[in-house]
């Protein structure tokens, strides 16, 4: 028994060791890598993917998947930007933007649970539809120049909180809250249970459908939050924003050691996974690797991580 336990611990450390190795190699190859400036920049970039990936962790733990996160991000950003362009107060616009993300998530959840559509198919459909709605709403053009004087909105992407960029603060706060939720609450416990065995959970009297809807709503809300950070940083809402973000989020979750079949995983792994992707992007940029090769390398790293994980299980 002891042996089994120790193995599990090593397995948990795997992603962290990978991240450390990556950092060591990059700090040798590039003297800019370990600077404070670079890390604040890196973490700011990571925060967007991490926020989406945190939600994705819950979805994947229940045995589902959410492909619509990038489109949710784009549509909720466009809504917020559009409202502000019409003179709506920044705080209210942010609230409505987040809420629109929640509503889109709830819609995903309802289609999946009440409509009994496989999560992959359901969110593939809403991914397309939400993207379409974004293009309709923006007429295919970016919304710009709407928030030059709104402090609240400016803060989201570009502000500092005791010297730490606000996106990083948001990422850490959300991480801590969700870590506690997953570890200490019935919501977290039931998320694992449903992913581990949905039928047994239902027969144990758990509200399976309701919990799944909440989980997709959470992911929708966090995607909207990530979108607001992005929009604030760029000071514009792009109709094509967030394209393929679902892939980075899923990659972060998988790199962190969460099982795609559900029921097994942890959110700390996702944070580390998002950092690995972020460090890789950042490092390859510093080393002037062409963006074409960057994709090849990222793909190879994901594959390598999963293969190593498989080896440990055998």
């Amino acid at each position: 028994m002891m042996e089994a336990k120790r193995k599990w611990d090593v397995k948990k450390l795997g992603p962290l060791i990978g991240l450390a190795l990556l950092c060591i190699v990059l700090s040798i190859l590039s003297e800019d890598f370990l600077t404070m400036n670079n890390w604040l920049n890196l973490l700011r970039q990571v925060s967007i993917n991490a926020l989406i990936a945190f939600g994705m962790t819950f979805v994947i733990l229940t045995g589902g998947i959410d492909l619509s996160v990038g489109s949710v991000l784009a549509l909720s950003s466009a809504i917020t930007a559009g409202l502000m362009a019409q003179g709506v107060d920044g705080f209210l616009a942010i609230l409505i933007g987040l809420l629109s993300g929640t509503v889109m998530g709830v819609l995903n959840g309802i289609i999946i649970t009440k409509g009994r559509v496989a999560p992959f198919i359901a969110t593939l459909a809403t991914m397309t539809a939400f993207r379409g709605l974004t293009l309709v709403y923006t007429d295919g053009r970016p919304i710009t120049g709407f928030a030059s004087d709104d402090i609240m909105f400016q803060m989201m992407g570009r502000g500092y909180f005791f010297g730490v960029p606000v996106p990083i603060v948001l990422m850490l706060v959300v991480y801590i809250v969700l870590y506690v939720v997953l570890k200490k609450t019935t919501f977290g416990r039931h998320t694992y249970a449903i992913g581990g065995n949905e039928e047994a959970s239902r027969l144990s009297g758990l509200r399976v459908d309701r919990l799944k809807i909440y989980v997709y709503a959470l992911t929708g809300t966090l995607s909207a939050l990530a979108g607001l950070i992005l929009t604030s940083r760029l000071n514009s809402a792009q109709p094509t924003a967030g394209t393929a973000y679902e892939l980075d989020a899923i990659a972060a979750v998988v790199l962190g050691g969460t099982s795609l079949s559900g029921g097994k995983g942890w959110i700390f792994g996702t944070l580390v996974g998002a950092l690995i992707i972020g460090v890789l992007n950042n490092g390859l940029n510093l080393l002037n690797v062409s963006s074409f090769y960057q994709q090849v390398i990222k793909g190879a790293v994901i594959l390598l991580a999963v293969l190593l994980d498989r080896r440990k299980e055998a």
Partner: protein, 496 residues
């Protein structure tokens, strides 16, 4: 007669834990040899050592007069030793013939093009030889479990198997399928094929086997010819002590009616089902598999919709549309398939035990871990669950202990009505007795109990009344005084 398989002084340890300690096991051609022992006695390890999944630490294995060291089950299969697992290995989307010849399809030269006609002809001849009522072109997924098992046997025979190792082969079969399996086993015997038969079902073993070998705690206890031994001796060999009466007696005063079901109907599945259970009573439910008994229970528990009918609890009508509502009304259900429907296998004993109760144990959604730990340790003790730690994943436990976890998780919510569907399936003799005692204890506390079981001795040994289901209808409700198996069986097959 020269043995087909001769294993001598087999040793196997995992770390410091000795799993097999000097086990002898011999199989003769054409015999049916039962391998018995409680869960954890070392039966599966012995088979895994034989077929090369585990490497032995000591001892010899001689097959057909030649010492062997298999490194992979494939090598054992080449020597004609084939295991038929409890979870069948057929591909449901392929036909019977395609399954039998999977990986060995007759082809046109080396083109990879399959000679379907030839394959079906050969499959048909195997099926005929084994007396199996199957067509080569039938889709395997549409067959009953019993027939899928036949496909697997046919595949083994087509590879020239000399010894079939069958692990709990009747666990998922109906009475009629069991009889069909036994007649196939007799045919195989006549053709000189040996069968190693692993099962907990005593009645079957005394019906079909020639010899019985018993393991206990990794030790070889002995081999007996069937006509030289009896039920009690075998049980004693297995548990190493007298376990006393197989079905413990209970003295309970039966109280007032707890649950009444009236005219429960789901078109095409069950119809007009009416019965009642009183506090402290055990109502046994007998019926062939597929008779609708499980479906009726799932409908009462809210896990399956029904068209018509009423359910009353303590005289008041209730509307139960989900398991959650059933739980709120004090109904618990221990499902027949604990791995699929009862447990979250990757989760710990602790987390499984508190799952239905987790919301009551939480304050504002936060789990009160100290409160949980107290409940968990009290249940581990009360049910005598053998686990090294409450945090161990439940899949690491033996079948009997897993079943105790399922019991514990429902007992934690103090149910008033307890539905048990096959409560002792795949559970060894010792744990069975503990489960029976638990049922009696609950009845004594005034819980109304419905117990569905395929094992007639269990139904007769435990119930106050027996309800017999036949093709979705209540065929009879019998008072259990001096009730015999024949009477129940007759009703279950549609007679009176």
């Amino acid at each position: 007669m020269k043995p087909l398989i001769d294993m001598r002084s087999i040793q196997k340890s995992f770390g410091s834990h000795t799993v097999l300690n000097g086990v002898d096991f011999e199989v003769l051609p054409g015999e049916v040899h039962a391998l018995m022992g409680e869960n954890g006695a070392g039966k599966s390890t012995l088979i895994k050592v034989l077929t090369g999944i585990y490497e032995r630490d000591g001892g010899t294995i001689v097959v057909n007069g030649r010492e062997v060291h298999y490194r992979h089950p494939k090598e054992a299969e080449q020597d004609g030793i084939v295991v038929i697992h409890q979870e069948l290995n057929v591909i449901p989307t392929l036909t019977v013939a395609e399954n039998i010849f999977l990986g060995r399809e007759p082809k046109i030269g080396r083109t990879g093009i399959i000679r379907h006609k030839e394959m079906e002809k050969q499959a048909a001849s195997y099926l005929r030889r084994l007396g199996m009522d199957l067509h080569p072109r039938e889709l395997t997924g549409q067959l009953s479990v019993g027939k899928q098992q036949m496909v697997e046997i046919a595949r083994a025979i087509s590879t020239n198997a000399k010894c079939l190792i069958m692990d709990e082969p009747t666990a998922a079969l109906t009475e009629r399928e069991i009889q069909a399996l036994f007649s196939i086993i007799r045919t195989l015997k006549e053709q000189g094929i040996a069968i190693v038969y692993i099962s907990h079902r005593m009645e079957e073993i005394f019906t079909i086997c020639d010899r019985i070998s018993v393991l206990r705690d990794g030790q070889f206890i002995g081999t007996k010819r069937i006509e030289e031994t009896n039920f009690d001796e075998i049980v004693q060999m297995m548990v190493g002590r007298q376990i006393g009466e197989r079905f413990p007696k209970r003295s309970v005063t039966i109280g007032k009616e707890r649950l009444r079901v009236e005219q429960l109907t789901k078109k095409g599945v069950f119809e007009g089902v009416s019965f009642s259970v009183r506090a402290g009573e055990v109502l046994g439910v007998a019926g062939l598999m597929g008779s609708g008994r499980t479906e009726i229970m799932e409908a009462i528990f809210g896990a399956r919709p029904f068209d018509e009918g009423n359910i009353y609890i303590d005289g008041r009508p209730v509307h139960i549309r989900s398991p959650r509502q059933a739980v709120e009304h004090g109904i618990a259900m221990i499902t027949e398939d604990r791995k699929q429907k009862g447990l979250i296998l990757n989760m710990s004993v602790h987390e499984n035990l508190t799952l239905p109760k987790s919301e009551q144990l939480a304050t504002a959604g936060f789990i009160q871990s100290s409160k949980e730990r107290d409940i968990v340790s009290s249940f581990i003790q009360r049910l005598n669950i053998k686990t090294s730690s409450p945090d161990l994943a439940v899949k690491a436990l033996s079948g009997g202990n897993q079943q105790k976890v399922v019991f514990g998780k429902w007992l934690a919510m103090n149910p008033q009505i307890l539905i048990l569907d096959e409560p002792t399936r795949g559970v060894d003799v010792g744990a069975k007795k503990e489960i029976y005692e638990m049922i009696n204890e609950l009845a004594a506390q005034g819980v109304a109990i419905i117990m569905v079981s395929s094992e007639l001795p269990e139904v007769l040994g435990m119930s106050d009344r027996v309800m017999v289901i036949h093709e979705g209808r209540v065929q009879a409700i019998l008072e259990n005084n001096e009730l015999d198996q024949e009477t129940v069986m007759r009703a279950a097959t549609g007679g009176n």
